[in-house]
């Protein structure tokens, strides 16, 4: 299992993120994608306009292989977990076609694979030992699973996609 970091040189619109995710999930070796970016608040959280809805045009529900995914961040970085390195060139091609403004692509290790103390405190020892290994390190310990993880079914196996702030 290897990880690839895709770092576009611009923050992406929801439309481009949707296209990118759909193309990435069409690849065979992709197991999960973590989206990293700038949080887009629902309401103004500070100042005289506190409580006013923001209505950010890039905070919306996108469709990834039929699964509605609510984007809560403006995507600026993707960590893609791959089964092996056979399709890295395909990822590079996708990036080239979608990010004409430039991007960086790095192969490495970007998320953790072993449970931490926080996991044990949050979920309990039994739950951690029983949980799907691909969920470890997927989300921020403070975020809620339902709002941060979307499972996108594949023909044979399951894939997960996560949103993180």
């Amino acid at each position: 299992m290897i990880e690839v970091e895709v770092f576009p040189h611009r923050y992406l619109k929801a439309k481009t993120t949707e296209k990118f995710l759909n193309e990435i999930y069409s690849l065979d070796t992709v197991e999960r994608v973590i989206i990293h970016g700038q949080p887009l608040p629902k309401t103004v959280y500070f100042g005289p306009a506190r409580g006013t809805p923001v209505n950010h045009s890039e905070r919306k529900v996108i469709n990834v292989h039929g699964v509605p995914v609510e984007l809560t961040v403006m995507a600026g970085r993707f960590w893609i977990t791959l089964r092996d390195d056979s399709e890295i060139e395909k990822i590079e091609e996708i990036c080239k076609s979608l990010f004409p403004f430039g991007y960086d692509l790095k192969v490495g290790k970007f998320t953790r694979t072993t449970p931490t103390v926080t996991d044990y405190i949050k979920y309990g020892e039994r739950a951690v030992n029983m949980m799907d290994r691909s969920l470890i390190g997927l989300i921020d310990p403070r975020s809620k699973f339902d709002s941060a993880v979307k499972i996108i079914p594949k023909k044979k196996e399951e894939e997960t996609s996560s949103k993180e702030e």
């Binding site: 619109k13 481009t16 700038q38 949080p39 500070f46 005289p48 306009a49 923001v54 950010h56 890039e58």
Partner: protein, 260 residues
Amino acid sequence: MAYTPQFYPGKTRIAQNRRNHMNPEVQLEKLREIPDDDVVRIMGHREPGEDYKTVHPPLEEMDLPEDYVRDLVEPISGAKEGHRIRYIQFTDSMYNAPAQPYDRARTYMWRFRGVDTGTLSGRQIIEMRESNLEEIAKNFCIDTAFYDPAVCGIRGVTVHGHSLRLDENGLMFDALQRYVYDEKTGHVLYVKNQVGVPLDEPVDVGEPLPPEKLAEITTIYRKDNVPLREDTELITVVKRIHRMRTLGGYMPTDEVFKEL
């Protein structure tokens, strides 16, 4: 003591741009014409056409104790009228914004009277009597080459974004999305005022400047434009100040400058 102000050291284009900003005799290039009322609406302190609120009666009507400083210093028009003090705050992207916080502070101090500025890493606030502030905001801060619709933001709160990558349209990230890029016209529209309250009608602040032009007029040293290390004169001055502070303390002597 009469002397000619030098404003800023350095031999590069960036240093020259900084000097142009600070020098009150230099007229910055006028690039756009935003109506007065639109600037008032973006600032959001009063409705266009509304009277200025006052915090004290006009100075002439006030019975003030005698003070010779008052005779020496001519109050600005807003102070004479007793207008309240309001603010406007700008955020400048690191991607070749025309101005940046320290440059803004120095520029305001050199060019205007009765101004109180606050410098922070990503934003720069100006506080001033409301009527004078509106005049400066329009005629200097927005209409000239001191501002660019894409990489400068008028943001009262939630300023985060100056150090982030730009978005796909080349706009600086704004969590509150106060301004949007109109893909049909290529203009930037303010849809909210500086604190995030939606405006009745969008305010058109014009087209973003092309990247080449921004690289030309920016006051930010960047490795992909003009790097700081290229400006030997500036480096010498910075080193000199650093030595004076760290080695000289309050008594800089010739010893401190020996190796410079």
